[in-house]
């Protein structure tokens, strides 16, 4: 018999103890992976909304870091379009509305003009169509939102204080956040929000997006159009916007809580499982095992148990994310995709905490005189 065979037998033949330890580890790893994964996925998805649209510059009211509260004159769009180097201008108004069918979760509503590049860029699924300037009370829904509401093209939808809208089309977006949103004509949204002639901001696409000096020049030219304008490159905006920062903070806090709970759970599981073996450690020490061999045996076992727990926990977390993402109340908010770094992080934590949790009682057990350890019940 080899030493590692002995270690393996210790794990395999003590089914109850090993299973309980593995379950404990799996629950902790699963909690970490699921919570960190979901919250970071949410953050990623939110950022992707901006990145996917290939927008180069964003124009907003100075000092406003949240899109919802920004107020700019819609006519400014025409002046921006005349700035040399500007290819396209997308005026946009954004709001959140609640729907009875979805409970308390808000749904993002974008108001765009029919000929705006972002509107044209929507990938409408077969059977539907883009909104046109002549549409009245029409809406296009993100795929997930349509699924959650169980609505199809041509169905009616009650929006903004019981105004009936017709679903003109359903669009598909690679970002879960956008998939859970809806788009109406800018004029419609302005009217219902009581913000006629106003927009939240402008998304600018320029002729030469790869030329940094060109971007900077256009940025300054647009900024010169008015004192209250803040022109930000998209990447910078994404990192500075209040919503993103809030989501980032929430993701961080959720992850930190998950990590602490998970780590304490793992530590507890491993410490208990080694403590109850003090007597066995005494036997091994009595028949001549050195301290280091005892510690090595327990560490090898705990690595094995942590890895198995990590695999099961990760699988469980992925399943959980999938189940959660399918719930109508969170549709459009939760992505079932969990990033590889989150999984890797879960494994590393399991391994570190597993080793740490096993090392202390193993070391303590190995330090005891064999007679003391043998007396241990």
């Amino acid at each position: 018999m080899r030493f590692w065979t002995f270690v393996l037998k210790n794990v395999v033949r003590r089914r109850v103890r090993s299973s309980l330890t593995i379950v404990g580890m799996a629950v902790a790893v699963g909690a970490v992976v699921a919570l960190v994964g979901i919250s970071s996925g949410f953050e990623q998805s939110f950022m992707a909304v901006y990145q996917r649209q290939k927008v180069d510059l964003l124009v907003q009211q100075r000092g406003v870091k949240q899109r919802l509260t920004g107020v700019l004159d819609a006519k400014l769009g025409d002046r921006i379009a005349k700035v040399p180097g500007v290819k396209q201008v997308n005026s946009g108004l954004v709001d959140f509305t609640s729907m009875d069918e979805l409970g308390p979760v808000g749904v993002m509503v974008q108001g765009w003009e029919a000929d705006a590049p972002l509107m044209k860029g929507l990938e409408i699924l077969p059977g539907g169509r883009h909104l046109t300037a002549t549409d009245k009370h029409c809406v296009v829904l993100g795929q997930r939102l349509a699924d959650s509401l169980d609505k199809h093209v041509g169905d009616k939808l009650s929006l903004f204080d019981n105004v009936t809208y017709t679903i003109a089309g359903i669009f598909k977006s690679p970002t879960v956040y956008e998939n859970g949103s809806m788009v109406v004509l800018l004029a419609d949204l302005q009217r219902f929000m009581g913000r006629e002639g106003q927009v939240s901001g402008f998304a600018i696409i320029i002729d030469h997006p790869d030329d940094k000096t060109e971007i900077e020049r256009v940025r300054q030219d647009i900024a010169a159009l008015g004192k209250n304008l803040e022109v930000t490159p998209t990447a910078e905006f994404v990192n500075s916007t209040l919503e993103i920062r809030f989501i980032h903070a929430m993701a961080w806090v959720t992850s930190a809580v998950a990590l602490v709970i998970g780590a304490v759970g793992m530590l507890n599981t491993m410490v208990m499982s080694v403590f109850e073996r003090t007597r066995e450690i005494g036997i091994l020490r009595a028949i001549g095992w050195g301290r280091w061999r005892v510690v090595r045996m327990i560490l090898m076992e705990s690595i094995l148990l942590s890895l198995i727990g990590g695999i099961l926990g990760t699988a469980g977390a992925m399943l959980l994310a999938r189940v959660l993402a399918a719930q109508p109340s969170v549709a459009g908010m939760v992505d079932s995709y969990i990033a590889p770094w989150v999984i890797l992080q879960g494994f590393l934590i399991a391994l570190c905490v597993g080793l740490l949790g096993a090392a202390y009682p193993a070391y303590r057990g190995a330090q005891l005189l064999p007679t003391e350890a043998l007396r241990h019940e």
Partner: protein, 244 residues
Amino acid sequence: MNNHGRDPFLFRTEHLSKLYPDGQVHAVEDVTISVRRGEYVAIMGPSGSGKSTLLNLLGALDKPTSGEVYFDGQPLSTFQRLDRLRVEKFGFVFQSFHLLPILTSLENVQVPMFEGRLSAPARARKAKELLELVGMNHRGNHLPQKLSVGERQRVAIARSLANDPIALLADEPTGNLDSVSAEGIFDLFAYLHREQGMTIVLITHDEEFGQRAQRTIRMQDGHVKSDVFCERRRIRTPMPPFAV
């Protein structure tokens, strides 16, 4: 060890004392004894007389409160690695066997060998030979729970012989056994002593078995009450394998 054979005594104690963990009562008090190489010693006495404590101190399983144990002339307090001493020189047999429940007989016997120099196949071969010696080769693949208590003790004795010890230290090895099984265990000890020249120190409650040893040390209240040596005691030495 390089001083092998320098001292005629394999074990020697000088004013050995050990307080119970509570620090109030002496488990062993001022005990000075010596055990020659190849001697077969039975330690007897009522419960709580300090027999087990003395044996644990001789076997480097415990540390004395005062006094010294010498092994082969060398004080135990000077050994850096007592576990090396235990694994290389001593074989331990316990009243409750202390076999690992998840390992088969063959595997249990190999556990102390991890600290030795044998390869994995050599360990398996040797474990087989030892099980054969104690008459347990037909139970090599059984877990302890599938064995009778007598069989378990035989496996435990095979394990104690794993690294070719000089001395066998047994704490009431037949305490949990019926008389027939106990008889077999004592036959085994007699064989190891007579045929393999092993030094044996064992604790027993059984007068008859105690009388079979060359020497009987009786203890009471932590002191040695009597120490009787009888060279002419007849030790029955049957040959292996031993019947279960």
